[in-house]
Subunit: 89 residues, 14 copies
């Protein structure tokens, strides 16, 4: 088995692994934040504007960690410098 | 065993793994969000409009992480650049 | 052992694995959602219409992640491009 | 050891694994749902009709994920395309 | 070691594994359901008829998942198509 | 090492494993059920007849899953078809 | 290493393993049951007769699962059919 | 390495393993029972006679599972039939 | 397999691993902080200015640990001194 | 490597393992019992005589399981029949 | 594979590992501290000065452990004495 | 590698392992006991004499399990009979 | 691979491992202590002097365990006696 | 690889491992004790003298287990009898 194929395989493995693991906990955290927001809404319906605004800012920051992982996977699949180096040889 | 077959196998493995692991926690989080929404409805039936709207926005953002994983699996099965490179040889 | 058999085996393994793992947490979440709905019904019998409607929408979204996994398994068993490529050779 | 025997073994392993793992959490969830239903009945005996109806709908949806796994096992044992392909050779 | 013996061994292993793992969580869930039923009885002695009826329906559905596993084990030991195929050769 | 000895070993291993693992959770569940029954008795001494009757029915159903495992072990040790087939050769 | 010695070793291993693992959870459950009984006694000293009777019945059933495991170990050490078959040869 | 030495080693390993693992949970359970007894004493100093009597009966039954394991270890070290058979050869 | 390829592979693996693992717990912590902020808002709507300011400072410090990991990954992919040394040879 | 050295090594390993593992949970249980005793003392200073007496009896029984393990280790190091047999050869 | 490459690899692995693992729990702890600070603010808005000052001192000390790990990684990548020794040869 | 070196290595490994593992839970238990004592002091400042006395007796017994492990390590390093036997050869 | 390189590698590995693992729980404990201090401040603003003093003493003692690990890593990298011995040869 | 180098390596590994693992739980316990002390101070500011004295005694005893581990590591690195024996050869 030559090195080119091996790098291809490892890139595939890490892309899948990073996406799978990296999206776990943002999902968990978003579920937690949404659940708390719903409880807060049920408790203080009058503050719904502030609550939903804070919620969306928080969701955006949490989502950003999931996007780091997805971006890394895309880099590994479509813009991998090691693979390009190997192909270039 | 040649490299082509090996890449095929690893693509299959990572597709299944990513989908299986990546859909776990969105399911958990959605269950949590739905459960909290139901509790909130039982507690404040008057705020049902705000609650269901916030719930659906939250479910959509959580679902998005599951879809990242599913998309990656589909890319690995049907649009895999490494496989195409190997076949192209 | 030739590559064709190996791909067949790995497809079987991943199909079973994906279905087994992928249906775990939707089951857990649905159980949680149903349990919360029952508690909510016991607490607010008057809001039963809203509660059951929200419950069914939530169950449908949770069930969707289980179906992603089942669909992937069916693709791996009955519409596997790598297997078809190998057989086609 | 030839490929035919290996595929037979892997099919047996995955059938058992999928059934064993796949029935775990539906059992857990059903136990949880039944337990909650019993608590709800003790709390609101008047709403027993609504509660048992919602319980049975929920049990049916949870049971469905266990059945996905059992169906996959039966497919692997009695309608396995890879095995038929191997035998057909 | 020939393939026949190997298939025999794997069938034994999976039969034991499936039964052992597959009966774990039904036992857990039944224990939980029974415990909740006892609490409910202590809380509402008047609703004992409804409670025990719901309990027995729930126990039957939970027991069904344990029986799926036991059935699969019996199939693997006494009606194994792969073993019959091997013996038939 | 011939196949006969190997099958003997695996039968021993699986018999012990199945019994050991399979009796864990019935023991746990029975402990839970008994504990709940004792709490219920302390809470409602008047309902002792109903409580103990429900307890014994529940214990019987939970014990049944432990017995499935013990039966399977006995089958593997004293009525093993694969072993008989090997000895018969 | 001949098969006889190997079967002896595996019998020793499984005897120890089964006893060690199989006595874990009965001990846990008995501890739980005893603890609950003590709490119940502190809560309802008048019902001590019923409580201790139910406790002893429960302890007996839980102890039975530990005894299944001990019996299996004794069978493996002193009445092992596979060992006798090997020695008989 | 001859079989005699191997059996000696495995006997040593299993003796230590069984004792170590098998005394874990009795210790845990006894700690739990003692702790509950102390709480019960603080709650109902008048029922100290009944409480300590029930406590000692329970401790005896829990201790019995630890003794099963210790007995098995002693059998493996000082009265091992397989070892005697090997030495006898 | 030469050393250059091996270093490329290990760089890919560690980049994915570091990003995936390193973004898990910042996501968890941010979810927790956001959830607590929402609860605090529901409890003290008047202190919303202080709460959101403290929240954003905290989120920034938590996000910094995720960025350490992402920076390390980028260094490993695009500015790896060991890789440059190997290529330079 | 001859058998004598191997038995020596395994005796060392199991002695350390048994002592390390076997003293874990007695320590945990004693901590728990002591903690409960302190709470009980704070709650009922008048019953200090009964509480400390029960505590010391309980600590003695829990300590006994730790001593089983320590005894076994000492037997393995200083009175090991298998080692003596080997040395005697 | 020569020693120089191996040391390079191990340095990469440990740099990633140390950063990934070492930033986990500071993130968790900071999330916890921030969350508690938000609760405290909601509970005692008047003590906001003391609370935020204590919070920032605590965050600094927690952040220091993450920085220990990051520093070690930088040392391993850019100032590794073993690597310099090897290159110097 | 000769047996002497191997025994030396294993002695080092087990000494470190036993000390590391064996001091974990005494530390945990002592922390728990101290924490409970502090709570008890805050709750009943008048009973401080009894509480601290019981605390120190308990700490001594818990510390004893840590000392068993430390003693065993010292025996393995400085008074190891197997090592002396080997050196004596 | 010669011994010098191997010792270098192992030193790198253990330095990273010790720092990464050894800073985990001090971070956790400091987070816990800070969080409790903040709660205590919110509960008793008047005792802020005593609380912050006790907090800083506690943080110093907890930080000391992290510093033990960091010191050990520095010793392994910059003052390793085994490495010096090897280089000296 | 000669025995001397191997013993050096194992000493390094165990020194790091023992320090890393052995300082985990003292840190956890100290965090717990400090946290409880802070809560106790907030609850009973008048008993601050007794509380801080008991706290410091407890911290000293907990710290002692961490010091056992650190001492063992120093012995393994700077006063290792096995290493000296090997060097002496």
């Amino acid at each position: 088995m030559d090195s080119t194929a091996l790098i291809a395989m490892i890139s595939i493995i890490m892309a899948g692994f990073t996406t799978a693991i990296g999206t776990i906990f943002p999902a968990v955290s978003e579920g937690k934040a949404v659940a708390t927001a719903l409880s807060a809404l049920a408790q203080q319906p009058d503050a719904s504007a502030t609550i939903t605004r804070t919620l969306f800012v928080g969701l955006a920051m949490i989502e950003s960690t999931a996007i780091y992982c997805f971006v890394l996977s895309m880099i590994l699949i479509f813009a991998n410098p090691f693979w390009n180096h190997m192909i270039g040889q």
